[in-house]
């Protein structure tokens, strides 16, 4: 296989979500972060005092904390003062699609998050910039007691459940970006599945950044009570600007006893978005947590969905797919932390680097001394498509005691000449052959996605593959 020409073989992949709409801003703050911005947000949102104090404390923590040394390169790439921390184009989150302002509806129509799609979903949320424009749930699920609201509304309508769980899993002390989120959080989802309720149609939320040089800090809290089930799906996109935007989300999940939660992400930010996300689940006895994490966009992603197994027999699983194209660095991975006996966990990571992109797998498997009889299996496979790209694997395993069985395996390779030769000798065109090999490579992750997303991923990867064979 001959390598593509040395410079810009083609201008990255086509990013059809890169458009920008003129949407009237109703509320916003001046650029930069300050305690005054925090006060403004508390005022317009009408938040209780404890939240105001929490936000101020978090901002202080953010200013004090440094970026961990192993997070590559972020220190000097941007200044926190170049972003706007709160921009709201809506008055409040609507329950009827017709009540959403027309210009926002138009944006969502263009993205294909139309009303019709709601038929396939148990609930749909749509966030634009700082606020949720729309949040609704099917009547049948609401009747069973399922709560699906914007996180702000969750705080107001269910203060007890909210306060019992909010920031208990990821406190602002956890890391610099969690503190940043805690200070400026706005939007995101609040999901509560009562005991024994199986919410078998997915709840979906779409996050859109429209403003320029903007920081989006949504916060999601999912509580699955004993024996319940839910599948939460999120997607995201942003316009292409010449300046950077920042997306620092926090997702906290509680999987109670014997409950199961699946959280699917299709991250497709434009290549000027820094995506620095903290996602963590606490899994009680015999609970099951599944993260399906697809990272296809952004300038830089730093995200390691985590499973903390705190009850006996808990199971945590992370399927991670990263595709680093031109101008992207996907620093993705996963964490499994075993704190109770007889738990199991699995990480399956697939990454593709092409057109000068860089993808890294960074992972942690940690076993506490009393967590006897735990098993963890980690598989990482990476494909490098051309000589301008890079792939790294940084796994860490810390095992105390002798009663765990831990395995890690990783492979980095290219699309081999033998594979191509075989497929082309069967009459396939070279591009189709490469595409087939890549699709086969990501198949174990893609097959776990809901149908519409699987189709979307195949389309995105397909676009990325164009021009990769000379």
């Amino acid at each position: 296989m001959s390598a593509p020409p040395p410079t810009e073989p083609f201008a990255g992949r086509a990013y059809k979500e890169g458009f920008h709409d003129d949407i009237k801003t109703l509320k916003s703050v001046p650029k930069g972060l300050s305690h005054a911005v925090v006060d403004y947000m508390c005022d317009v949102k009408g938040e209780p005092n404890w939240m105001r104090e929490f936000r101020h404390r978090s901002l202080d923590l953010f200013l004090k904390q440094g970026i961990p040394e192993w997070v590559p390169g972020l220190r000097d790439e941007f200044h926190y003062d170049e972003f706007t921390y709160y921009v709201s184009p809506v008055e409040k989150s609507s329950r009827r699609w017709e009540d959403v302002p027309e210009e926002i509806r138009r944006t969502y129509d263009k993205l294909g998050i139309a009303k019709e799609e709601q038929k396939l979903l148990g609930g749909l949320g749509a966030q634009i910039d700082s606020e949720m424009a729309y949040h609704n749930i099917q009547e049948s699920l609401a009747k069973k007691g399922v709560i699906f609201l914007s996180c702000d509304d969750g705080m107001k309508q269910y203060p007890d459940i909210f306060r019992q769980h909010f920031a208990k899993n990821i406190p602002p002390e956890d890391n610099k970006f969690a503190a940043l989120n805690a200070a400026f959080w706005s939007g995101g989802s609040f999901v509560y599945i009562p005991k024994g309720v199986k919410c078998d149609i997915p709840l979906s939320v779409y996050f859109r950044i429209n403003a320029e040089q903007f920081g989006q800090f949504e916060r999601t809290l999912i509580i699955c009570e004993d024996d319940s089930f839910c599948h939460y799906v999120e997607g995201c996109s942003a316009p292409i600007y010449t300046t950077n935007s920042l997306h620092a989300a926090v997702v906290e999940i509680y999987v109670k006893e014997r409950a199961r939660c699946r959280y699917t992400t299709i991250q497709n930010w434009s290549t000027d978005v820094y995506n620095l996300v903290t996602k963590r689940s606490m899994i009680s006895a015999k609970g099951v947590m599944e993260w399906v994490d697809g990272n296809l966009g952004s300038k830089r992603t730093v995200k390691y969905p985590s499973c903390y197994m705190i009850g006996e027999g808990a199971h945590g699983e992370v399927l991670s797919l990263a595709s680093a194209d031109k101008g992207m660095w996907q620093d993705a991975g996963a964490k499994l932390v075993f704190l109770a006996p007889n738990c199991s966990g699995r990480i399956n990571s697939k990454s593709i680097s092409g057109h000068g992109g860089r993808s890294s797998y960074r992972g942690l498997v940690q076993v506490a001394r009393n967590a006897t009889g735990c098993r963890a299996q980690v598989n990482c496979d990476a494909l490098i498509l051309d000589p301008h790209s890079r792939s790294d694997t940084y796994p860490t395993m810390e095992i105390n005691g002798d009663l765990a069985t831990i395995e890690h395996e990783a492979t980095v390779s290219n699309v081999s000449d033998e594979q191509l030769f075989y497929l082309t000798s069967r009459g396939l065109k070279k591009e189709d052959a490469v595409s087939m090999i890549v699709n086969g490579f990501i198949e174990p992750v893609v097959k776990e996605l809901p149908m519409e997303f699987a189709v979307e991923i195949n389309r995105l990867i397909g676009l990325q593959m164009e021009g990769s064979v000379g």
Partner: protein, 368 residues
Amino acid sequence: MNLDAQRALAWQTYQRLPLPSRRDVEWQRFDLRALNLNEIEKRPQSVRVSLNSAPGVTLVPLVDQQPIGRAIPPDEPNKFAALASALWRHGAFLRVPAGHKADRPIEITCEFTGANAVAFPRTLIVLEPGAEATLVQQFTGPGDGVHASLTEVFLEEGARLHYVSFQNLAPGALDFTLKRAHVARNAEIDWVVGMFGGSLTRYDVQCIMDGEGGNSFIYGAGVVDDRQQLAQFTRQHHRVGHTTSDLLFKNVLRDRAATNYAGIIKVEKNANGTNAYQSNRNLVLDKTVQCDTRPILEIESHQLRCTHGATVGRLDENQLYYLRTRGLDDTTARNVLIEAFLDPVLARIQVESVRQEFAEIIHRKVLK
């Protein structure tokens, strides 16, 4: 750079570098705070180096031979390597002339003798083009205190070295070792490393693939018990393509011992045709131990294949059961499985007497 200048630069480097702290990922399990390095330059050095040569090769005490300091420069960013570069007094120099095949194993033995002393043995190994040799290097002795050794290996074009190196220092020794091999075009190193002694040991084993067609096989066995701490760092650095490196480090831990393996495969840009494998397998024998492993790949080239794996596990109950049904008692069954676990490393040793010695050390430490 002459030797005096090297020593001066190394001493500067040593003083500039901070003592590794627990915040340093590679050292996070190891507490060096109790280590006293005050006036270390004034402490007595007690090393006895014995050499056992083969016909046709040069094996002499290391004085100022070339190319000393070229693989491990005096400003190597490693506090203990810089310390050894500055203060070493004893060592060995091996040169195998071009095309010569040494017909019996060459031996270098460094004995650490004094109590509360220091030792900085340094070794320089050069195999000229087409040369072949087998080298057995051992670090042993009853001494305690700080032991920091450096070994530089140069395999010139087409040279082949079977290199067995092991450390079996006394329990009080703190050992900091750096070994780096440069492998030129079509050269091959077949390397076995044994890590057994010392209360705190850091072993740095590195191969730099400098020429096409170069091969490197590195096999390591670490056996630790009784609160021993063993940190291993390996590096397979592919500077050019069409090179192969294969690494397997196996550790057995018991009785409050701790190991921390960190290894990296680094493939530079355009090193196409690299084939690299890295594996770290750990067998933990009781629940008092701690075992960390961190295998890393950094790949900037695309026509290649790099794979790594790491495992931590205990003896398999089913295998033990099987052996017991065949009439073996519990202890024997365990011993058989532990020996079998380490066998892929021991089997690489081509010198029968040395393989015996490995087996005896392992027997003393972990078999009952």
